[in-house]
């Protein structure tokens, strides 16, 4: 009887150990990737990048984004749900640099590591920040535009959402680069809220006042494409140069067709990829740098062939 009992205990213990070992050996991490929305192609590229990294590293990934684009509440909820489900790591692209802080702090409290991608979170503890420098990207584009204009002319600047950190950095970069060209005058600088339709309307109005402007520098491609339509409507395609940032699919087509001049590849795929990779590295006990900088590339007619699919 006792022998049987001992044998039973031993077998049970062995089974348990083996079971645990198999769990430990093939422990697949569960990572949640929270994006700003599923509308702008930028975030879809980032999702593809994140999912590619997950596949490569053999982890589970779930990508979430607010239904109402860029809604902070929904992002906070997504993170709270992830905490309840006890995921291993959270990778987040905050819509609102400040609004996201309480959610990050909650994750910190629950001991779940957070990786910050693309847009800086202004508080809470993130293991690393994977992003391009928006300031540098906008600077590069404006510098390239200045060169295309041979350092002289009048330009219109289209800004992003007033008050958003990315918009502030992009605007500062653009204007700092234009300062290098004393012959270039900024005749108007207005917001079009990163939106194509809004940019078209604002440009239609501005073209009434400045029909002979030399160039438009938009803080993203969506706005640049709105400007392209407004310029097309008055038959000045090619005469007024247009620049944006993101190198999204439409902008690539517009550059290839000569309707747009410059964009900037912010390598969203790479950002998603590196973000998820950083999360796995951290979970495996590796030390992360405070900042992972993703290099950007200026896109124009000289290298557009690499982007046309």
């Amino acid at each position: 009887m006792t022998l049987k009992r001992i044998a039973a205990v031993v077998i049970l213990a062995a089974m348990l150990t083996m079971g645990m070992m198999s769990v430990a050996g093939a422990k697949t991490y569960n990572v949640v990737l929270v994006l700003k929305n599923f509308v702008n192609p930028v975030w879809l590229d980032m999702q593809r990048g994140g999912e590619a990294a997950a596949k490569e590293l053999g982890i589970n990934i779930k990508t979430l984004a607010p239904l109402k684009a860029d809604n902070n509440e929904e992002q906070v909820k997504a993170i709270e749900d992830a905490i309840i489900q006890k995921v291993d790591a959270i990778v987040v692209v905050p819509s609102d640099s400040n609004g996201i802080i309480p959610a990050i702090e909650k994750a910190n409290k629950a001991g779940i590591p957070v990786i910050n991608v693309n847009t800086k979170a202004n508080g809470g503890k993130c293991e690393t920040f994977v992003a391009v420098e928006n300031y540098d990207a906008a600077f590069m584009v404006a510098e390239a535009m200045g060169a295309k204009l041979n350092g002289k002319g009048t330009v219109i600047v289209l800004e992003g959402v007033p008050g958003a950190q990315s918009a502030i950095d992009l605007d500062a970069g653009t204007k700092a680069a234009l300062k290098k060209y004393p012959g270039i005058e900024i005749v108007a600088s207005q917001t079009a809220k990163f939106q194509r339709a809004e940019a078209m309307k604002v440009m239609e109005n501005l073209l009434q006042r400045f029909p002979n402007v030399s160039a438009v520098l938009a803080a993203n491609d969506e706005m640049a494409l709105g400007a392209v339509e407004a310029i097309d409507a008055i038959g000045k395609t090619g005469k007024i140069l247009v620049s944006g940032l993101d190198a999204n699919a439409d902008a690539v087509k517009a550059i290839a067709a000569g309707k747009m001049t410059i964009s900037c590849d912010k390598r969203s795929y790479q950002q998603g990829y590196e973000g998820v990779k950083a999360a796995v590295k951290f979970l495996n006990g590796e030390k992360l740098p405070a900042r992972v900088v993703i290099q950007t590339n200026v896109v124009d007619s000289s290298n557009i062939a690499n982007y046309v699919k």
Binding site: T191, Q208, K253
Partner: protein
């Protein structure tokens, strides 16, 4: 007092006159033919969506689904509109989907007796979600010339959207003010039970109005994507609020039974003049929405004061 009431009755025209004088003095470009045509062209879409909103507000309702239905109908139709040979099918899909959404709104409000705010709010989430699912994050870009005529073309030297707005306005105006249907609409809006007891099929009126509003949203969807040269599931998030603003600034109250589309046309025009003016003057981005908000409140305050004076 009576004089003051009379003046305030035309307060909106006074606002427009004031904006015209002010902007003409402030900007040399404002009072030019091309800028004025530009302003009217930009008014067209907001006016058509404002008409849709006004129709349902006339019977004490509201339609919060305008922007999302616009997104869904344009996304479902976009791939057909992209091919010159299937433009007609695309147009039918766009108008049909939007009308069907409007019809469903009407059914929920009239038959299931859901509060309009809730019925159309639900519809707005549903249609936005379906649009996101259908597009899977893609954007349809680059429509053929034949389709772009609607939003970006000209007819007899006048931009097509202005023609569309004028036709929509004329048809709605005639129906609302010169036919029995129109009388039934106003009767239903003023007092639904009294109208029902005197033989008006009020449910049909309500369902008809929501469906018509849907149709106008479909028309707006065609105008919008043809002008923008792209269709994406995220468009029009602010349209419902802008359409409400145009209706209210125009002077159609939420209570129903009074007001009309000619007022909404003025409301839409005021809003568009404002944004054109602020762009021309280079008003800082940060100030623009504050200015919009104060004008909305100011216009509605004038409305209230004129009513009070009129009653005294």
């Amino acid at each position: 007092m009576r004089l003051a009431a009379q003046i305030l009755k035309y307060s909106r025209l006074l606002i427009i006159a004031a904006l015209f004088v002010g902007l003409t003095l402030a900007s040399p470009v404002f009072l030019t033919g091309s800028n004025l045509i530009n302003v009217v062209r930009q008014t067209a879409l907001l006016a058509v969506l404002g008409f849709a909103m006004t129709l349902v507000i006339l019977v004490g309702g509201i339609d919060l689904s305008i922007g999302s239905v616009l997104a869904l109908s344009s996304c479902l139709a976009a791939s057909y509109l992209k091919e010159p040979s299937t433009i007609v099918i695309g147009t039918i899909i766009c108008l049909g989907v939007a009308s069907a959404c409007g019809f469903l709104n009407g059914l929920m409000v009239a038959k299931i007796k859901l509060p309009p705010f809730i019925a159309t709010y639900g519809m707005s989430w549903m249609t936005r979600g379906l649009a996101l699912v259908f597009m899977g994050g893609n954007i349809v870009y680059g429509f053929p010339k034949t389709f772009r005529f609607l939003g970006a073309g000209y007819m007899l030297g006048v931009p097509t959207p202005i023609w569309v707005m004028t036709i929509a306005f004329t048809v709605l105006y005639v129906v609302l003010h010169m036919t029995k249907i129109g009388r039934n609409v106003y009767a239903t809006g003023a007092n639904k039970e009294a109208a029902f007891l005197s033989g008006v099929k009020t449910d049909r009126v309500v369902i008809g109005l929501y469906t018509m509003a849907g149709f106008l949203v479909g028309l707006g969807a065609l105008m919008y994507i043809s002008r923008l040269n792209a269709a994406e599931p995220g468009i029009g998030e602010s349209f419902a609020l802008e359409a409400i603003a145009a209706t209210l600034i125009g002077g159609t109250p939420f209570t129903g039974g009074e007001g009309g589309i000619s007022r909404t046309l003025t409301g839409a025009f005021i809003l568009t003049l404002l944004s054109n003016g602020m762009n021309l003057l280079g008003v800082s981005s940060l100030w623009q929405s504050a200015v919009f908000g104060s004008v909305i409140i100011f216009a509605i305050m004038l409305e209230r004061i004129s009513k009070k004076l009129g009653n005294d």
